[in-house]
């Protein structure tokens, strides 16, 4: 159950990063920072202001989205590696801020957070996330994201406001990462700045890449595999990290396009759901 909750939280993180990196083609190495904003905001609100969980969670997501816009605007001029470094820097700055503020508890972090997250809450959150991102990707906005990824100049020539859509992608992704952070904080009941550092960002990115970029189902598979693998490998304790590493390398050699790659897995229900969703719109 413990691991399943973490899998679900990671699915939300991977899908949201996929929106920026997979669909819009902007490499971000600071996704965990948005998660941190959501985690700290919601935890401080429920802990110190006794605000109910749900509004606190949403406020955490909204603040993360605002930061998504703030980081999105100045980094618009940057592309590829330069953008990656800028987002990495953003993540580090945020970690330093969390380390030094009084309200975030400094190096000690925040403890005694209420337990609000359980398997049902995260299940609902995952379904809502998948639904919203799926709808976005099927809409004009989603097609604009993909156009930006394929060729930014061409996209602009076609009349797509690339600046607007890039910021939008960052904001939406940051919102869901913030929600995931809030769920994380209220599940483990303790957070500190190290929970949202560079290594967490890389972990999320690995999920996206391993599962297959630009695919919602890929992110789900990637998050599930990479979260469950270290736990399943616990039985071989000493070789755990070694095999985990080898698995990653082997995967990238055999299927650089990700586990799902260009195979679009469609379970029968999915097709029906899609029909239903498309009819409604």
């Amino acid at each position: 159950m413990q691991v399943l909750v973490l899998v679900f939280i990671n699915i939300i993180l991977a899908i949201s990063l996929n929106l920026v990196t997979g669909f819009t083609g902007q490499l971000s190495l600071g996704h965990a920072a948005f998660m941190g904003i959501g985690a700290y905001t919601s935890a401080i609100l429920t802990l110190k202001a006794s605000i109910p969980f749900l509004p606190a969670l949403l406020l955490g997501g909204i603040l993360a989205a605002i930061f998504g816009v703030i980081i999105g605007i100045p980094t618009l001029r940057l592309k590829g590696d330069y953008l990656a470094i800028a987002t990495l820097g953003f993540g580090e700055i945020l970690k330093i801020i969390e380390l030094n503020l009084k309200i975030t508890g400094g190096t000690v972090g925040l403890r005694g957070i209420r337990q609000e997250t359980n398997i049902w809450v995260v299940s609902v959150a995952v379904v809502i996330t998948i639904f919203i991102i799926y709808r976005i990707m099927k809409s004009r906005v989603g097609r604009s994201f993909i156009a930006i990824r394929e060729d930014e100049v061409a996209a602009e020539a076609m009349g797509i406001d690339t600046a607007k859509y890039k910021v939008l992608a960052f904001a939406v992704a940051a919102f869901f990462a913030g929600i995931a952070g809030g769920l994380f904080a209220h599940f483990y009941r303790y957070i500190n700045p190290n929970s949202f550092g560079f290594s967490r960002s890389i972990e999320i990115l690995s999920m996206v890449v391993l599962g297959g970029m630009g695919k919602i189902s890929g992110s789900i598979v990637g998050a599930a595999v990479l979260t469950a693998a270290p736990e399943l490998l616990r039985s071989i304790s000493a070789y755990r990290q070694l095999i985990y590493g080898i698995l990653l390398v082997v995967m990238m050699i055999v299927r650089p396009e990700g586990i799902l790659g260009d195979v679009d897995v469609k379970i029968p229900i999915q097709r029906k759901l899609e029909k239903l969703l498309n009819k409604n719109s």
């Binding site: 972090g109 403890r111 483990y188 303790y190 039985s235 080898i246 082997v250 055999v254």
Partner: protein
């Protein structure tokens, strides 16, 4: 490419086989359920903080080996199930959950870092499994619940005990405080000053520095102007050695006091003559002539081929306290073990006599060491 593919598939297959054989072994140990008592450890065995976790696991291992060699607890052997947390709070929580629900451990020693302990402890407490951390010094760890204990010296405790010792035993009365600006240094400084105030003393001057500083002449000049008898340095051995040397050069004759951050052979190496007479608190002293300490040090060296550190010693003591509680309880029922743990009083360990307070925090007489003739000597 075809060949590469084949190779990759073979290695994947090998891995699957490895995983399954690993599981097989796990199954076998669970068969021996009734005859053994299972204790788990949670801590970083890989990653940046692995040294702390490995020391902790090793310390517990020595304790369990010692008991198993002398016939176990009431005839039952103990098996140790170590779990890696990578120093990550989510992993520590998962590992704790796994120990409780899959391995059915009777108790857990861990976690190692404060952050992972704060995430793992609520799980153990909710499941009613006793957990003793031997190194999580952060405030709030024992407050998680009745099943959570810790066996280490909080930063606050050592500063308070040294302040008392300095005033009551050394009869000092004019103090200066110099501390490093991080959570460790500030905790030491705050408590030292508070304890002095409770003893009707006031520090003459409080100065700070930053780790990595090389020149302390500004602070030393200010301190010298107040003519203190002793300087309490809340920091680590590198800076402490430099501070002592620079004070000596300026002709300042004082007694230096410090915390467990002083405890390293490097203090003597870097400080030379200047650190002669330095007095500081420590969690563990491996040259202690005490018989139990030497037995532990010898066993540790024989098994792991290195000197035990404070983490190993505190983990050893935590395991011994736990074993004592299981012996007294006469059962592996976690609630009975918890009840006996809570009663622990004056347990004679290698890190001093230990008792648990009502909420599970350790109270112990902290060791006080002094530098004499270029070597450490225990004076309390």
């Amino acid at each position: 490419m075809q060949k590469l593919r084949k190779l990759v598939w073979i290695s994947l297959l090998l891995m699957v086989v490895l995983v399954f054989t690993g599981c097989g072994q796990q199954g076998e140990t669970s068969k021996q359920d009734e005859e053994t008592i299972k204790i788990g450890t949670v801590g970083p065995l890989s990653g940046d903080t692995a040294t702390y976790g490995v020391s902790t696991k090793n310390g517990v291992e020595i304790a369990i080996e010692e008991i198993n060699n002398s016939g176990g607890i009431n005839g039952k052997k103990i098996t140790l199930i170590p779990q890696d947390s990578k120093g990550d709070q989510a992993e520590a929580a998962n590992a704790t959950q796994k120990l409780i629900s899959q391995d059915n451990v009777s108790a857990i020693i861990g976690a190692v870092l404060s952050s992972e302990t704060l995430a793992a402890a609520p799980i153990a407490n909710d499941a009613g499994i006793p957990m003793i951390s031997s190194s999580a010094t952060a405030p709030g760890v024992p407050d998680v619940g009745p099943f959570i204990f810790r066996n280490c010296i909080a930063d606050q405790v050592q500063a308070a005990q040294l302040a008392e010792y300095a005033v009551k035993e050394l009869n000092l009365d004019k103090f200066a405080v110099l501390y490093t600006k991080n959570d460790y240094g500030e905790a030491l400084k705050d408590t030292f000053v508070e304890t002095l105030k409770s003893l009707d003393k006031e520090p003459l001057v409080v100065e700070s520095y930053v780790d990595g500083d090389n020149d302390f002449s500004a602070q030393i000049t200010k301190i010298a102007a107040q003519k203190p008898q002793a300087i309490y340095v809340g920091g680590y051995y590198t800076e402490a050695a430099k501070i002592a040397q620079q004070a000596k050069q300026k002709g300042l004759e004082v007694i230096f006091l410090g915390g467990d951050g002083f405890y390293s052979p490097k203090l003597l190496e870097l400080g030379g003559d200047a650190v002669e007479g330095v007095i500081f608190t420590a969690g563990f002293y491996d040259k202690d002539p005490d018989e139990n300490v030497q037995k532990f040090v010898a066993a540790y060296k024989a098994k792991f081929n290195e000197d035990p550190d404070m983490f190993a010693a505190q983990a050893y003591d935590a395991a011994m306290i736990l074993i004592e509680a299981i012996k007294k309880a006469g059962t592996t029922d976690p609630a009975a073990i918890q009840a006996e743990l809570a009663k622990t009083k004056d347990f004679p360990g290698i890190t001093g006599k230990t008792s648990f307070t009502e909420n599970g925090d350790a109270v112990k007489d902290i060791l006080i060491l002094k530098v004499e003739n270029g070597a450490f000597k225990r004076i309390r």
